[in-house]
Every structure is written in structure tokens, then in C-alpha cells.
Amino acid sequence: MNWLTNYYFGEGKGIDKNAPKPTGLRLLAHVLGREWWELIKLNLLFIAFSLPLITLPAAYGAMVRISVEMIEDRTVYLWRDFWAAFRTGFVRTSVLGALLCGGGLLCAQAISTYATAAKASLAFAPPLAIALLVAVALPLFGAHLFAALGLGRDRPLRDVLRASAIGVLTRPLPGLAALAVVALLWLAHIWFYPVSVLLPVLVNFSLGALVTSFATLKGVRLSLAFCTTEPEDGAAARPIRS
């Protein structure tokens, strides 16, 4: 068992203060390598908090906020910060989550209806295309919105919504790529079932939140800076704990 002891307690190479900070996918890999165990715990925490279902948006909001902290390389006290984020953002995230879910349901209904109608008449193809577009744009907007809520938690809702919209319009590709990764995670779970039975329990939610937050963060940050309605006092950079 010495190797385990050495691995756990052994001296590392050290961290160079002047080493260039990783960017892009290297940064994501860096965060994953550093926080993998916290991500597993975060996933379990999210599942536990989502069990009443009505708490799902708030739990997701808290999870995204923790992910943002991890990406920003701030110290995270998982339980304490998650609970603080869940509690303080409950109303906001619940309302916005409900609206997004409602929008998603409407979208699904519209796609189903227009798809059936389009089979009979091509005149229904354009509304079907619009419904499909909205079906893609809605989760993309949702990803930006939750990242914006995590980053600009002290900002007025109007700013957050505007920043999310601008983020979707200016940098849609990273968000779409992140959503594709999330979709792949879930497809992997389905394809490799039952081998992958533990995947959602351990990582799917938290990893998905981390990846989407990572992809949307830059756009959201720029947009939030653009949508300033109050004097900036570094609120966006403040840690969660209050």
C-alpha cells in the first residue's frame, strides 16, 4: 500500500508562480483534474437536492454556481457554498427554470404538431423549422442564463437576461459544442446501459454543468460587462460566500 501513501502524502513537483495559466480546453482539463472528486460529490448533492423535483432549477443553479467557482479557480466549500447558492438563488432560479421548462414543453408540443402537419402539407415546414430552431436555442439560452446567474448573482435580473441573450447571439458555437458534449454523455449512458448505470449518479449532471458553464462563461462575462446598469465594484468577481 506504500504507493497509495506516497501518492497521497508524497511531495509534488511544485507550482511555478510564473507558469502561464492554462486556457481553452487545457484549462477545462486542468479543472477536471483538480476537481474531479468534488464534481462527483457535487453530482450527488445535486441529485439529493433535486429529488423533490420542484427544487430542481434551484439545485441546478447552485450546481452551475459551484462550477463557475471551480472554473474561476476559487476555493469551494462544497456543502456550504452549494447550500448558500441554493438558498439565495431559489426564487430566481425556480421562476426562470419553470419558464424554461414551460418553453421547452411548448416547443416539444409545437415540433410534434408541426411535424405531423408538415407530413400532410409542406406549408407547415417553416413553422416546424422555427420550432426546431427554438428547441435548440432554448437550452442554449438556458445554459447562458444559469452561467450568468452564477457569475452575476448580485446583478439585476434584467442585466442577467440581456447578458444571456447577447452571449447566445455573440458566441453560440462554444455553447452548442457544450450541449453536444452533454448530449453525448447521456447517449453514452443509454448506449452502454447497464454498464453505464452509475454514470448519471456520479458525473453526468455536474460534468454537464461544468462543461456548459465553461463554454458559456466567456460570452456571459463579456456580455455582463457590456450590460452594466450599476457601477461595477467587482461584484461579479466576489466569491459565493456571504
Binding site: 511544485g14 507550482i15 508562480k17 460566500r241
Partner: protein, 368 residues
């Protein structure tokens, strides 16, 4: 005020006594170093001050309070361990904040203190990293930072540099000294490395077998050791000891060694006069008391030429350590690198006896 008094402190483990009734006064804001070979009781003494070991007898006083029965957490001290004792599953930030969290300090205060300590120690970039990724030096800083955030009156450091390589150790020595000045707190530091002790301490406590041998400033310990142990322990390479006989020569006294009469300085003559004539003594000469040629700044009357056989040459850069045989006794001389001595050479060295020491061979106590 965080002066510390050890009054007749004893520590026994069953029948084995490892610290014998020691008395020591440590002034407020003093940097004091306990030094001695392994097993001399220095770490045990430190652990008693920390409250990690119970005092068998005697009084341990911090400020004006006897703290023998005060729990460690209530003594307003912070300890840095040799192996750093960082929690491997916690980030640097959490390691540093942990003590304050246990005391239920406000979050803002914890954050501020950790940030301040991290800035002082230049470890801000490490705050969200785990100890596994850190080098020895970085871990050492974190351990110091963890002690600092508690803003204790007394810092206890138990061989904190012994796991570092020589270069880093030298750098950290300077940093800890600066830190002491900056924090303006009492530092009690344990080491077996006399170089650390000499370079950092306001005062040094030399210990052996659970007894304090001498307490004084580094220079006094070096210049006026009270016994052969201190004389040998302080200084690197250590002092050379030569068996001599005090011999009357006319109106004065000399030290007879290997058939040659060595002149003694007045202070030594005064101290042995009337007590040690024709008796054996031990002459102590520092390696720097040997010269390859007559130095300009010494009294020629107190010098003597000696033939040595060079057995080993240790070039140190600015100086050379010659291990040589002198009258059947091993000595070490610190000479100039330009002396050109080689192994096997027979060399004449000038011994300067103006700063020599004499010791009683039985008690091993200094005679001046």
C-alpha cells in the same frame, strides 16, 4: 505579553526521564532556538510548551499564567511541524483556514487572514491547490501560513526546514528570520542544525541528554562555550580538542603538547594558575585558528608552528578544510584555497592560541 518561563520542567516516560528539571526564561518577541543532537529532549520540550505533552513536574508559564493544565488550543500558540502535517484532502486555503473555522471565526475574517498570510508568504497562487501538488518549500510555507493566520503570541517550529534541500533551506532561513521581524511574535524553534541556530536565533539553548548546557547569543556560544560539548557542537567544522599538560615555564604557564610547549593567553593562564600546574587539560582550537602562514593581526608570541600530515582536503570554495594528523590526533584546519595542500603532504601550520580554550578533562567544563 508572551514571555515564557520553564521552571524546573521535567518530563518522564515511565522510568525514563528525557527532560531533567530545566529552567529557561524566554522573553517576549524573542527568537530562541533549541539545538542539540537527536534525543536531547528539545522536541519534547517544545511539545510540552505546545501542550502536546504533559509536564511531569515543574511549572510552565506563558505570560503570567501557569499553563501546565491548559489545553493546547487555549495557549495562544501555533506550531509548525517537521513534516508540515498538512491535510492532504484539503486545499491550501482550507488547510490555512481550518484552525480559524474550528474556532468559529467569521468567514470574512478567515478570508482576510488567509489572504494576508498568503501574500506575506507569496503563496496566493497556491490557495486552491492541494498539498500533493506542492513542493517541499511550498508546503513549508503553507505550514507557516497555517500558523500565521491564527495570529498567535508564540510560534513553535519543530525542525521545519529539515525536509528541504540545502539551497531552499538557506533561502527559507532568511525568510523565517524576516517573518519573525515582521510578525513581532515570540518564536521558539527546534533544530539539530547548528548553522540554522547560529544564523537565525536571538539566543540559542544548547541541550544534551535532557539538560540545558548553555543559553546565550550565538556569538557568545561560539566565543565562550561553557563546556566541551557546546564547544564541539557550535561551529562547523567543530573545534579541535588536543590533550595537553599545563607546564610551568619560568614565571608563566604553557600547555605541553607532543613535547612542545604551547604559549597560552593571559586569560587562560589566570584561570588555570594555581590549580592545574602539571595537570592534564584539553586545549580547544577552532579550525580557523590554524593558518598556512603567519597572519598579520595576531600576536606572534601566541602562535606556534606545527607539523601536520594532510589526510584529506575538502575544497569549500572560499576556503579549504584540511583533515590532518597532529601528534597522533586528528584535527581540522580551515585554510586558504591557495595553500595548495594535497593528500599526503606534510605541512607546517601556524596555530594561533590567542583565542584558544582550555577544558577540564574530567568535568569537560571550560576553564576560562
Amino acid at each position: 505579553m508572551a514571555g515564557i518561563s520553564l521552571r524546573k520542567i521535567r518530563k518522564s516516560f515511565g522510568a525514563l526521564t528525557v527532560v531533567h528539571d530545566i529552567d529557561l526564561e524566554i522573553a517576549d518577541k524573542e527568537f530562541i532556538i533549541l539545538v542539540g543532537p537527536s534525543g536531547c529532549g528539545k522536541s519534547t520540550t517544545l511539545r510540552m510548551i505546545a501542550g502536546l505533552e504533559e509536564v511531569t513536574s515543574g511549572d510552565l508559564v506563558i505570560g503570567n499564567t501557569i499553563v501546565n493544565d491548559v489545553p493546547s488550543k487555549d495557549r495562544d500558540i501555533a506550531m509548525v511541524f517537521q513534516n508540515y502535517a498538512l491535510y492532504p484532502h484539503m486545499t491550501v486555503y482550507k488547510n490555512m483556514a481550518f484552525g480559524l473555522e474550528l474556532r468559529r471565526a467569521p468567514k470574512e475574517e478567515i478570508e482576510q487572514k488567509v489572504k494576508d498570510a498568503a501574500e506575506i508568504l507569496d503563496i496566493t497562487h497556491l490557495l486552491n491547490r492541494k498539498p500533493k501538488a506542492l513542493s517541499g518549500g511550498q508546503r513549508q510555507r503553507v505550514a507557516l501560513g497555517r500558523a500565521m493566520v491564527r495570529s498567535p503570541e508564540v510560534f513553535l517550529l519543530d525542525e521545519p526546514l529539515s525536509n528541504l534541500d540545502a539551497k531552499l533551506r538557506s533561502a527559507m532561513r532568511a525568510e523565517i528570520t524576516k517573518l519573525h521581524r515582521r510578525l513581532d511574535a515570540t518564536f521558539i524553534y527546534v533544530t539539530h542544525d547548528q548553522v540554522e541556530a547560529m544564523t537565525m536565533a536571538d539566543r540559542i539553548v544548547v541541550m544534551k541528554d535532557g539538560h540545558i548546557q548553555q543559553v546565550d547569543t550565538p556569538q557568545v556560544l561560539y566565543d565562550r562555550p561553557v563546556n566541551m560539548f557546546v564547544a564541539g557542537f557550535i561551529g562547523a567544522p567543530q573545534m579541535n580538542f588536543l590533550p595537553v599538560t599545563i607546564t610551568p615555564e619560568g614565571a608563566t604557564l604553557t600547555a605541553s603538547f607532543n613535547g612542545e610547549n604551547l604559549p597560552l593567553p593571559a586569560r587562560l593562564i589566570e584561570s588555570v594558575s594555581g590549580r592545574y600546574e602539571n595537570k592534564a587539560c584539553v586545549l580547544g582550537l577552532r579550525p580557523e585558528n590554524f593558518h598556512e602562514r603567519m597572519p598579520l593581526d595576531v600576536d606572534p608570541a601566541l602562535t606556534v608552528s606545527m607539523q601536520v600530515d594532510v589526510e584529506l582536503v575538502e575544497p569549500m570554495g572560499p576556503e579549504v578544510h584540511l583533515n590532518a594528523m597532529l601528534g597522533g590526533h586528528q584535527i581540522v584546519a580551515r585554510v586558504s584555497p591557495r595553500c595548495g595542500a594535497r593528500i599526503g603532504d606534510q605541512l607546517t601550520l601556524i596555530a594561533d592560541l590567542s583565542t584558544a580554550h582550555l577544558f577540564d578533562p574530567q568535568s569537560e567544563m571550560a576553564l576560562a
